[in-house]
């Protein structure tokens, strides 16, 4: 008798079906943009991605051909500058949060880092514009690298802290019980155990700032030629895409599509690298 269907069985079935359909559509909505963006980029940009794109400088308006080699190299230089600022400060900050400091100070620092992670990236550009560009009277690669580095710091702080906290206390105790100093324990045991996680955090932060455009508008500024002086304006892939995309020339539009495709592919590759790095995570604790 208790196994008989309830009176509202059909209605309940319908509600359940409706709920799973809505959930499935929401999931599809999340994934769809990635597919759409990538196929759109392929459709419009693939034809313009060729050897010239990676090896030639931009041509003057009206002259066919040319590439974005200066922007690609410029982006790499900016990322190197950003890494030089963001990695040491971010990693050491994360170590401080996880291993040192009092509970009150740390919760304040954590809160500040979270707020900074939410600050719109153009704000960093304006800040660096005020602090560096105005003072030294000129746009420069240094200013661009600083803006990107400042964005990286709170990102790396939080990921580093999280993976260091995952290292079991037994390893710290084991090292300290051998008479190893606190600092050496942290560097040679704790950070070494968490190194995959720390590197993952760094790569994700680099991927994030690699596509930033807004903070570079006020700092690196961009140009159309080779520049080997870091104190001068420097081209960057996102900036070049921006400039070309808002131009009125079809030729430049095609190049912008190609640049966007290259940028997205690069960031995609970094993310794949992160997946490969984190695959062994369960095996080696962190």
């Amino acid at each position: 008798m208790h196994l008989q269907r309830a009176d509202n069985h059909i209605w309940r079935k319908a509600k359940s079906g409706l709920a799973s359909t809505v959930a499935f559509l929401s999931a599809l909505l999340v994934i769809a943009p990635l597919g759409l963006v990538f196929f759109h980029l392929l459709e419009n940009g693939a034809s313009s991605v060729n050897w010239d794109f990676f090896t030639k400088l931009p041509t003057p308006v009206g002259v066919a051909g040319g590439g974005m080699v200066n922007a690609i190299v410029g982006s790499l230089k900016l990322l190197a500058l950003a890494a030089a600022i963001g990695i040491p400060v971010g990693v050491l900050g994360g170590v401080y949060l996880a291993e040192y400091g009092s509970a009150q100070v740390n919760s304040l620092l954590r809160f500040v880092a979270d707020v900074l992670n939410g600050v719109p990236s153009i704000t960093w550009g304006v800040v660096v514009y005020g602090l560096v560009v105005l003072r030294f009277k000129g746009f420069s690669a240094y200013a661009g690298g600083l803006a990107l580095g400042l964005i990286m710091i709170p990102l790396i702080i939080r990921t580093t802290e999280e993976v260091i906290l995952l290292v079991p206390n037994g390893y710290r105790e084991a090292a300290l019980a051998l008479g190893v100093s606190r600092w050496k324990t942290i560097v040679h045991v704790v950070m070494k155990t968490a190194s995959k996680g720390i590197i993952t955090g760094i790569l994700l932060a680099l991927a994030r700032v690699g596509g930033e455009t807004a903070p570079l508008l006020f700092t690196a500024f961009g140009n159309r030629f080779w520049n080997h002086n870091l104190a001068e304006p420097i081209a960057a892939l996102p900036l070049q895409i921006f400039t070309y995309a808002i131009s009125p020339y079809d030729d430049w539009h095609r190049q912008a599509w190609a640049g966007a495709l290259v940028l997205v592919t690069g960031i995609f590759c970094v993310n794949v690298l992160v997946r490969i790095l984190t695959r062994g995570r369960t095996a080696s604790v962190v």
Partner: protein, 282 residues
């Protein structure tokens, strides 16, 4: 007491040792006692976990600390190499003398204390990023020893002392975590022995091991006491009876009874000790 580590050319180490020697006005003669603990009390915040414990730990012997969970026996053990300081808001009163040196004197560096007083933990914890060989010599290496020949000699000697050499000598490059549980615990013992401490503290070293691995560690403890003073915490009373020369029964942070193991187990003078040993509580 010539610790090889202290003979390494590390000026800070030498300086600390000298200062310790000077700061002890009357050097304790006849070091048949490795530790002399007087009126030791420990607080975690407001909570008093060790209450006025006084006992002497004999050299080249095994002293077992027994008692029910939470009675403070692990805390007591950690006070012997200042590892309890890793817990914030701990406070210690009383004195602990190691061969006459006051461990809690303000000039003492806890790292030096831990080089003289090694420790093995309940859960084996070889470093997961290091090979078997690296695990053994890491203490020496991080304390500044660079001489590869010396490290290799010490590697073999420590593994032999921990009765692990024959099992791992061809696999020294393999990860330390690839060993079995019992082997990992012996690797941790080898790692502790490599820095040549005077004392080995063991915090329930067999509680996570099967009976065969436990028997091996117990045999090892028996052999090691020729060269080391050993203090071990155990839940297992049969184990205390088998391996130790002296037994301390701790209950609610107090030392209830302390004496030769045979006496504690056959003719305890305190009612509580008898009740605990016969399994009436705890």
């Amino acid at each position: 007491m010539v610790n090889l580590l202290m003979a390494t050319p590390d000026p800070t180490v030498v300086e600390h040792v000298d200062r310790n020697a000077e700061s002890t006005p009357t050097p304790q003669p006849a070091p048949s006692w490795t530790f002399q603990v007087k009126n030791l009390s420990v607080w975690y915040g407001e909570k008093r976990v060790i209450d006025d414990m006084t006992l002497d730990v004999a050299s080249n012997a095994v002293t077992a600390i027994i008692g029910p969970s939470g009675c403070g026996k692990s805390t007591f053990l950690r006070c012997l190499n200042r590892m309890h300081e890793l817990v914030p808001k701990t406070r210690v009163e009383g004195t602990v003398l190691l061969q006459g040196d006051d461990l809690y004197s303000s000039t003492v560096d806890p790292a030096i204390v831990r080089r003289r007083v090694g420790m093995v933990f309940q859960k084996s914890n070889p470093f997961p990023t290091m090979s078997i060989g690296e695990n053994v010599v890491i203490g020496l290496r991080l304390n500044g020893v660079r001489n590869q020949k010396f490290l290799n000699e010490r590697l073999e000697k420590s593994l032999r002392m921990a009765a692990l050499w024959d099992e791992v000598k061809d696999d020294l490059h393999k990860p330390g975590t690839s060993l079995s549980g019992g082997q990992q615990q012996r690797l941790c013992i080898a790692r502790a022995l490599a820095v040549e401490p005077e004392v080995l503290l063991m915090d329930e070293p067999c509680s996570a091991l099967d009976p065969i691995a436990t028997a091996k560690i117990e045999e090892l403890i028996h052999e090691l006491k020729a060269d080391y003073t050993i203090v071990t915490v155990t839940h297992n009373m049969q184990q205390a009876g088998r391996v130790s020369d002296y037994t301390a029964f701790v209950y609610l942070g107090r030392l209830i009874e302390f004496g030769p193991t045979t006496k504690i187990f056959t003719n305890p003078s305190q009612r509580q000790t008898e009740d605990y040993i016969t399994g009436r509580f705890g």
